[in-house]
């Protein structure tokens, strides 16, 4: 059995709350009345077949997609829409940005800024969003780069680095904002198999050393088992089964979960 670095989070303190969330792309209803809560410090992994809406959920939290209906609250604050006098009111971008400052996301394709060096990538937001002095931001970046094993490449351009190296820098870039929530969308899927391990190792360290809440989409079931407090199985936009990773991965109850896991494991 792998050692489980997960911890149960602060019970009862909701960090990410989906309330009656609806997301449509045109006529295609991807999420239909979705409700779930991630508590402070909790690590939740989303699994489910392709097209079930996992990425969409993460993108909604990052405000990369606009909600069609319902609400998402972050630490009790409305993220995209709020209820005002019985009406559903859109929250302006500026105010949304104040909430998203506490949320970081790592993408499948890294999305580093190619026109900047590694160091510039990492200090961009701390300097321009948090208002840190350049020297402070750089000192902090050095620490983070060392943590992900990339300190020696701080003056390189992203294009000079391997996928695994770029992804570790993208993780450092997200952490430089001191996020309280980290969203990870298949962060190893674009990597050559031999580079997956180094990225997962970094993420396991972060899971063990911080109390950042995490919402994770991954096909690395072993990794999910080690870091998650809870696994949610999605199908057709709703949660069909959820529970402790050992329970979901070893003795799933739902037939569709069983079929899905048999296909991917």
């Amino acid at each position: 059995m792998p050692e489980n670095t997960a911890h149960p989070g602060v019970p009862g303190v909701p960090h990410i709350e989906f309330r009656d969330v609806v997301k449509k792309f045109g006529d295609n209803t991807v999420l239909d009345d979705l409700n779930f809560t991630v508590t402070k410090g909790e690590r939740v992994t989303l699994i489910g077949p392709s097209g079930s809406g996992k990425t969409t959920i993460l993108r909604l939290v990052m405000t990369l997609e606009e909600l069609t209906g319902g609400y998402i609250d972050i630490a009790g604050n409305p993220l995209q829409y709020e209820e005002q006098g019985g009406k559903r009111v859109r929250i302006p971008d500026k105010r949304r940005r104040r909430t998203t400052t506490d949320i970081g996301m790592v993408f499948q394709h890294f999305n580093l800024f190619p026109n900047m060096t590694v160091m510039e990538n990492i200090i961009e937001a701390p300097v321009n969003v948090m208002g840190l002095k350049k020297a402070e931001a750089e000192a902090k970046a050095e620490t983070l780069l060392d943590k992900v094993g990339m300190g020696w490449k701080k003056d390189a351009r992203p294009s000079e680095l391997s996928g695994g190296q770029q992804q570790r820098i993208a993780i450092a870039r997200a952490l430089a904002m001191d996020p309280e929530i980290l969203l990870l969308d298949e962060v190893t899927s674009a990597l050559d198999p031999e580079l997956v391990g180094e990225v997962l190792a970094v993420l396991k360290d972060i899971a063990a050393e911080t109390d950042i809440s995490m919402l994770i989409v991954t096909h690395e079931m072993q990794f999910a088992r080690e870091v998650s407090d809870r696994v949610m199985m999605f199908d057709k936009g709703s949660v069909i089964e959820e529970g402790l990773p050992d329970k979901i991965f070893s003795e799933p109850e739902n037939q569709r979960t069983q079929d899905f896991l048999r296909a991917v494991l």
Binding site: M62, T63, L64, D93, R97, T100, T101, I103, G104, M105, F107, H109, N111, L112, F113, P114, N115, M116, E124, A125, N128, V129, R173, A174, M177
Partner: protein, 219 residues
């Protein structure tokens, strides 16, 4: 001494050359450089507005841009001169602004293509870092967009240079105008016009080579 009736006279050639270079070419160069600067700056502004402003603003902008692109430069020069000459002393300034605004519409298209070529993931990474919109444009999108547009922008600068003779129609003493004047004063057009053409060639050919080299370096 070359006989008067021969088709080419070195005397006339040498007589007109200083005027061509130090008056005509100087004005042509000033018009091109300032016109290009206007087009480079306004083109970027227009491209950003068309991409990010709400419909009510960006749609009229699109109409104006299309209108300017679809009417000839000469007509715009004559029209602007007609309307503005009572208020603006220098026909050169009018000419520079017309050139600049005319080319703004072309350069805006180039920038637009450059902006569209920046992957969506770059915008998304900026959102994930909560970067303000302005900062995203300035630090992420524009630097990447411009990289792909340098050659096309350079080519428009050269074509603006080659269209400066149109300033002739509003009596700006640029290269062609100087040559034409010399011709009508001495009834000798060949030397002046030929030299004017050669000066254009001598300036634009090396510039286009430079742009091609730049293009290769950026690719």
């Amino acid at each position: 001494m070359t006989p008067q009736n021969s088709w080419w006279s070195w005397d006339h050639a040498f007589a007109v050359l200083p005027d061509l270079l130090f008056e005509g070419f100087k004005i042509t160069l000033v018009a091109t450089v300032l016109g290009t600067l206007i087009a480079l700056v306004l083109g970027l502004v227009v491209a950003i507005i068309r991409r990010s402003a709400p419909r009510i603003i960006s749609t009229p902008f699109t109409w104006v841009v299309e209108f300017i692109r679809m009417t000839p430069l000469v007509v715009q020069l004559v029209f602007a001169n007609l309307v503005l000459s009572p208020y603006v002393d220098s026909s050169l300034s009018i000419g520079i602004w017309v050139l600049g605004i005319h080319y703004t519409t072309y350069m805006a298209e180039v920038y637009r293509a450059g902006i569209d070529s920046v992957p969506k993931g770059q915008w998304e990474a900026a959102t994930a870092l909560s970067l303000p919109r302005m900062r995203t444009w300035r630090a992420v999108v524009v630097p990447q967009a411009i990289r792909n547009t340098v050659p096309a922008l350079g080519n428009y600068a050269i074509s603006m240079f080659k269209e400066t003779p149109f300033l002739f129609v509003i009596y700006v003493p640029e290269l062609l105008n100087v040559a034409q004047n010399y011709g009508s004063t001495y009834f000798r057009y060949t030397e002046a016009i030929t030299l004017a053409g050669l000066i254009f060639l001598a300036a634009s050919y090396p510039t286009s080579l430079l742009i091609r080299r730049l293009e290769k370096k950026l690719a």
